[in-house]
Point group: C2
Chain length 139, copies 2
DNA sequence: CTATATGCAAATCATTTGCAACCAG
DNA sequence: CTGGTTGCAAATGATTTGCATATAG
């Protein structure tokens, strides 16, 4: 993901291009595993030591609002951010606290079919997400 | 769930029976929809105005440790507690912020079968949970 | 008795907020 | 120009911690 591609993402969402936004966006895409705000701040500080913490939070909020990124809830109690805004499930390792995306169309079809058969009273389903809990193993 | 049943739950887990623990336990079982610590405190305060906030948090932590209750993460950023410790999924309404438990053996069998066929490299699955997002509707 | 639980108030820590100064379009 | 952004520092709010006191077994 180069400089121009990042700029395009901001422009498509009609967001002003600022160095801070570029830095945060680059961080979210570069840090693979669903970074916390703190990890993003650390990542940015190497090249951009003067960015304000509050600004990072504000930029992240704007991105979430404009659906450039998504917020992710995890077992620990800090917010994490995900550059992948498409529908996907999460693999979560309780030992190393890593999250990985998971996607499979067969699975989604299976779920879709199941919930057509088993509608829930007085409830409209908008989205079904799996949290696949377990442990990553050394090979 | 009467007084004796609550006492038995504590005794089985080898926890000392104190008025505070009884009050918190009763609250978690009485408040249906996955209460926050604050809701538990409010519920208790009616009958037990002098309980300390810190004590409620400590009691909740002990309960989670001893697996009397479970912590639940939601879209808002407060911790919620769930008296149902058995395997189940969650129905979540983004509008009214309510959570409801969902359980269906056919669904679990379906998922189990699916993940046998589709093992994930270098990952041992311990548990798969669904978050069913949508909206409750008036009837 | 004695270990454990409670009350209290201070501490923590991620996140939010208010506002003046700044800068992208 | 001018409204949207940033930096800063103070505020917030849920949760935690430390310690002296109280109490369950």
């Amino acid at each position: 993901m180069n400089h121009n591609e990042l700029q395009n993402i901001l422009q498509e969402k009609k967001l002003k291009i600022t160095p801070q936004r570029m830095a945060v966006l680059e961080a979210v895409y570069s840090i693979k595993h669903h970074p916390t705000a703190e990890q993003i701040i650390d990542y940015i500080h190497v090249r951009y030591p003067n960015i304000a913490i509050g600004t990072v939070y504000k930029v992240l909020d704007v991105f979430v609002q404009k659906q450039v990124i998504k917020k992710v809830k995890t077992e620990d109690d800090v917010m994490r951010y995900d550059g992948n805004i498409h529908h996907h499930h999460h693999i979560y390792c309780g030992e190393c606290n890593h999250i990985e995306d998971y996607h499979n169309e067969e699975l989604d079809a299976l779920l879709h079919e199941y919930f057509i058969k088993h509608a829930i009273d007085n409830f409209i389903i908008e989205d079904v997400k799996l949290q696949i809990n377990g442990r990553f193993i050394e090979q």
